[in-house]
Symmetry: C2
Subunit: 395 residues, 2 copies
């Protein structure tokens, strides 16, 4: 390896304000580094049990089948789809960004006949579209929808769609990768049948596990399958017995990652789900006021409070600003994906990253750099706009 | 949660002498807990590059396509099979234990027509069986073989089989989960086309990643596929671009686990592959002499130096001894799997666990406990037998 490309021995401390990973609390990093236990050690099994129980609290569910899949969020997506879909099944997917498109791809790979309801990137799927799709395709067996579209920052209401899906005796699969732990995700109350998330977003744990939950209706569907699940690694019929009372050996769980997830979930529960959601909202409003004062325009119609997607202003070089943020201030924000490549910034305020300090930091740094490169847009000070929001929230 | 089932806040420090995970060096645990970087941060990308280069050294290969799959060893198995096998392909799998059986299951799930060559558990597959299978089924396109069968402790020679497979223009897939970093695994010299391992065995990193490598012949096969790979998460055509120069976003890699794997691989390379293999051999011989002095009989015909599978003596309660080892001395050894349930102990000396101290510790503890429960077998002191082997090795 040449000297110039030599990897750093000690990863630097960034402030992670991109679309994930978010900042990991030192408490979680310490948990991660605890001594490795055997995966069948009674002490580890009780840690798995506690982690399941904490996941149930965060998912707001009583679902027995709530586990952490041994992979990242996309493995969680694949686990939900490959278990609930059999070759030839008709499936409806809402596509208004990268992750809806990914669900479609995964469902097709597993042999589903995929219908889609689509919306412009940055707009939500209208429940009426789902109703129309059921009218046209009455044999739809499962519907997949992205609650928080990480590629556009759009917040998709799920409750009404869930109601429709249940009326048609189909199953609802929800992508909550960028919402779980930062926005309300009420599995039981809304009637969601399968939901997956990642650890590195609003839960602020390093990436590597995917919390998933399956309703009893979903498990009945799995029990009634005519074909084996193609993926051995993600087969819920076996994962159930591994995480269940019987502890039937399946694979070796990522032990240290489980420690970290447990600690991160404890922090969510200690803070309180409601309080945590309110914190995300409050800091989003501060940031939003500041970004808008700088003349930055939100892309989504209904912005997520966890991830802020704004347009890169005309004449501003996306890569230069992100590069300087990283190199001069150690701040990471995200670039645009797909059609938004070079045209969007995605600023995450997720989990431990959602602090007033980070709001001021990223606003200050953006104002500094944008003015530095000659950008003259906006109506005033980003910091002052954030202060006014905070004052009115306090008042 | 009831008090009795409450999970421990602080995982205790075990001595891990089971079939994996093995002991993780504090240096690796410290690396694991370094600050989380973004998965597209240039600093992280250079860490990925270094990790790839180190994996190539340990696999003894120049294969460009050498990566860590974001899952455990079984995800590595599935990645090799699902990419190299298309529905209807004829595949030959060697089955002489749990993991050969698992390969067969995975290949069938992905639509392969599976033929098997089988051997008794604890015996190796004879290359002649493979030659006979090719004579009977000339259209076999891939062969799967387990180098180190974790369920029986049997060491399977691979070189001759690799030669046969190449003569028939098929691809060879090798399971090196319990051998990589402890036994010779020479991808290029032996002519292996795809190989997978886990991090938590002889590499002594926590579980959660699966090092895999694909030869250029294997990549040509993937490029010539008529069908998409069913698994999106494990699709090598996309993983290649994610780990390659282009860095095309696929999923969020388990960042902190990559830190740990890099550090663990550095320790392998610093020690030297040859020296490390010799260390595993030396401590295996010490342990073996001690276990045999206690009258414990090895199950495999060709024992692995990394994992020692012995029969539980007549009249001795397997669970009592393992339970007391864990509870009184904090030592984990493994139980038997499948037909060996209750009848085997699997004692791993892998990676950081392969030390003379651990040899003495587990021999002393076993002698102590076996005598304590009234076992009278064996011909003498386990420690003295180990000392004699060490003396003759030194002389």
């Amino acid at each position: 390896m040449s000297t110039s490309k030599r990897a750093t021995d000690h990863p630097p401390h960034r402030v992670l304000l991109g679309p994930g990973p978010s900042d990991v609390d030192p408490r979680v990093l310490r948990a991660l580094a605890a001594p490795t236990l055997g995966h069948l050690d009674p002490e580890y099994l009780s840690i798995m049990d506690e982690t399941r129980e904490l996941m149930r609290q965060v998912f707001q569910t009583r679902n027995e089948m709530t586990i952490a899949v041994s992979g990242t969020g996309s493995a969680g997506m694949e686990a939900c789809i490959c278990n609930l879909v059999e070759p030839g099944d008709e499936v409806l997917i809402g596509v208004n960004g990268v992750f809806g498109g990914r669900m479609k791809d995964v469902a097709e790979r597993y042999g589903a006949v995929v219908h889609t309801v689509e919306a412009e990137w940055g707009k939500a799927i209208d429940p009426q579209q789902v109703a129309d799709a059921f009218a046209k395709h009455p044999h739809i067996r499962a519907v997949g929808i992205v609650h928080a579209e990480t590629s556009t920052g759009e917040h998709q209401p799920v409750e009404e769609i869930a109601h429709l899906v249940r009326q048609h005796d189909a199953l609802l699969i929800v992508d909550a990768v960028t919402s779980l732990g930062g926005l309300p995700v009420q599995i039981d109350q809304w009637g969601i049948d399968a939901c997956y998330s990642g650890t590195q977003k609003c839960l602020s744990c390093p990436p590597g596990l995917a919390p998933v939950t399956f309703s009893s209706r979903a498990l009945e569907r799995i029990d009634a399958r005519k074909t084996k699940v193609t993926s051995w690694y993600l087969d819920v019929t076996m994962l159930r017995n591994y995480w269940g009372e019987q502890r039937v050996y399946h694979h070796t769980a990522p032990i240290n990652m489980t420690y970290a997830l447990r600690e991160a979930l404890r922090m969510v529960v200690e803070e309180g789900i409601e309080q945590r959601i309110a914190r995300h909202r409050r800091h989003h409003l501060m940031l939003r006021a500041g970004l808008e004062a700088l003349g930055l325009e939100y892309i989504p119609e209904h912005p997520l409070t966890t991830l802020n997607a704004v347009r890169v202003p005309e004449g501003v070089d996306d890569a230069v600003v992100r590069g300087r943020l990283l190199n001069e201030f150690g701040i990471e924000i995200g670039a645009g994906l797909g059609p938004f490549k070079g045209q969007a910034w995605r600023i995450g305020l997720m989990g431990s990253s959602s602090t007033p300090r980070n709001v001021l930091l990223v606003l200050g740094a953006l104002e500094f750099l944008l003015r530095d490169i000659g950008y003259t847009g906006g109506s005033g000070s980003a910091i002052e706009a954030a202060r006014e929001v905070e004052l009115s929230a306090a008042g």
